[in-house]
Symmetry: C2
Subunit: 395 residues, 2 copies
């Protein structure tokens, strides 16, 4: 039982052209990104986000080895400003924000009153009464506005002209120091500093959607976007700097969740493994308290895990492939595995050239979630692939 697909037919996730209009909001870096040879885009927060330059695999190796500059303008900032800014931010997330002092940022899943995940942003404390919510792909602005209006909060909510540019990879510190000075080395993980580019201070945070290290620069002047891009490229020739983008393989291996792929409003923080990032029992006032307490009391029946395929290739995953168990677990009291029934589904998949096999994230029945559990994955073509449950993040 091996996957019966070849690379040629195995990329249904990249095929037709993308139609671009003002609605899909080209970023201030768009001309540079196109000139750098972006081969594919997605739309994320109604904005273009490149997904491939040379190839997903080549981009992956380069990211792990050198340094890349990413146009992640699509990580839109929702600015909350006013006396109730922090109160509103806190309402939206079970993570305790009382320690979110100026100079810090926090990964803080947003959860609605039913306990469903609405987004998983990084929240940055910009000043006393301003926070920026750096969002994944859903219109948090509307959610925040609706809550603020309904609860009568004193807070202005906007999407400012801020265009994050990420510098990611093992040589990110070296490159950033050449453009922003040695002060970049002092920025700790999930902290930020105001650093100047062409005399203009910008928020520079040690963060980013990879596990290869690096920074996110919150570019808040459109006219500085191309000069900053060019400065980074010019400064990094000997570091082999390249244009890049969030990489499917790297982020799956690293266990970085993609909202809309690995979790949706139908997913709980326990299922997504995000309960470790929050403070369910704190004294802070958040909307989802009752729902999350009920979820915890009910227990979690499924969870996100890694899958390693025996096959050396998997196609792009655009629909949830069925995961089935080979045998019931020891002391099984459930019916989950009877008749080869489904015990879960794949949420994201890619070929890992480093591990030499297909890798995936999957939401699986808790009874089959143990590392080492053998599974069978059925692809839309009808082909089946042997696989094994592995840790997520992957080794």
């Amino acid at each position: 039982m091996t996957v019966q697909t070849s690379p040629a037919v195995a990329t249904p996730h990249i095929a037709p052209a993308i139609a671009i209009s003002q609605r899909t909001r080209p970023t201030p870096f768009h001309d540079r990104v196109m000139a750098a040879g972006a081969k594919a885009f997605t739309v994320y927060n109604h904005m273009l986000l490149p997904t491939v330059f040379e190839s997903v695999e080549s981009d992956y190796w380069h990211l792990r080895t050198h340094v890349q500059v990413w146009d992640v303008s699509a990580e839109r900032q929702i600015a909350l400003h006013g006396p109730d800014a922090l109160r509103l931010a806190q309402l939206m997330t079970p993570r305790d924000l009382t320690k979110l002092t100026i100079g810090r940022c926090m990964y803080a899943p947003l959860v609605d009153e039913d306990g469903g995940i609405v987004n998983d942003p990084i929240i940055t404390r910009v000043d006393d009464d301003t926070v920026w919510v750096s969002i994944a792909d859903s219109d948090v602005l509307l959610w925040a506005k609706g809550l603020a209006r309904g609860f009568g909060l004193d807070v202005a909510i906007s999407e400012p002209d801020v265009f994050p540019l990420a510098v990611q990879g093992p040589r990110a510190d070296d490159l950033m120091a050449r453009v922003f000075g040695e002060a970049v080395h002092d920025i700790r993980f999930y902290r930020w500093a105001h650093l100047e580019f062409e005399g203009h201070p910008m928020i520079v945070a040690r963060s980013g959607w990879s596990r290869q290290g690096g920074f996110e620069i919150y570019v808040d002047r459109r006219d500085l976007a191309e000069p900053l891009w060019d400065a980074l490229m010019d400064a990094g020739g000997d570091l082999f700097v390249r244009a890049g983008c969030p990489n499917l393989i790297e982020r799956i291996e690293s266990g970085l969740l993609s909202y809309g792929n690995d979790m949706t409003r139908e997913t709980t923080i326990f299922e997504a493994g995000l309960d470790r990032f929050v403070n369910i029992d704190g004294d802070h006032d958040y909307l989802a308290r009752d729902a999350i307490a009920a979820q915890r009391a009910a227990g979690t029946e499924r969870m996100l895990r890694g899958i390693r395929f025996d096959a050396d290739w998997v196609p792009g995953c655009i629909t949830p492939w069925t995961v089935s168990a080979i045998a019931p677990p020891a002391n099984d009291e459930s019916d989950a595995c009877r008749d080869g029934g489904a015990i879960g589904f794949i949420t994201s998949a890619a070929h890992s050239p480093r591990l030499g096999c297909g890798v995936a994230a999957a939401m699986v029945d808790i009874a089959f979630a143990e590392t080492g559990t053998p599974v069978i994955v059925t692809l839309p073509s009808g082909a089946v692939a042997d696989g094994t449950v592995i840790d997520w993040p992957m080794a």
Copy 2:
């Protein structure tokens, strides 16, 4: 002063590939749409929406002449259900929904408390305490949930598995009658009926995002999606039925607004010309009442108009091109036109093969909005094009 571009370089709006994942939600018709030769897609409400089959121009002529089947699953339904469903819908729109009886649907712009447009859906009354909000590209679900939670309304809000399929074009009645029976002829504009397909009743409305006539079928069973697609295609061979999609040229000529292109939260209903669809002074209770009253009192300084280019081609418009006036208007008391200053910007543009010229929608200073006003449009390349303000919709 003519546009110095050729068709070959004039389509920057269709170039790289689109990256597809589960986050971009392929529709139940996706395999059929691909098999029908979709050449480009956009992402709309986090879902794939095809934009081109043969070519935008060929699709245009076919739509005006024959009949097309459109996968517009991306027009997501936000279902409001419960005692406060209608109250919540009414809060969101200045259109008076008291006449929204079962069997009717209404185009009803949603406006936030600041008077900005949040979406421009069709709202359908499904039963006594259920409405469906058929949305343009923004997460109205989050807006509705935030308001409902904040105001303590008794209403459940969800995005059900409903996948609209549009049948558009002058032969739409003929084709629909063959599949759904002669009853389709009795459905009036912006009315709906429950009609059966394979024994299952579906909402069939006379509506759609073209001015060529037709229907939208609210397919609420995933397993019936492909059978319905096939039935329409099989029944329409002699009607030259084809797969199609919302057509850029047709919708610009027809004056159909695209949320995110022609209007955003920065746009008022007066500027967009949507005040004629609403009931500002009614007794109904809507959020935007004060903001809209203030906007009306302040007066409108700009409005959406049509532009006809002298040139026989315009490239795709992915950024707002500057519109400048040639001369100040008679009795001008403003400074708008001094030194060739901008008096507006293009929001959407296409080449009209029927009119033999470029056509566009533009937001222009009210002093220059009169039909026949000559303008100059500056393209990103630096090229300039002569044009004229014309009526929108266009003749």
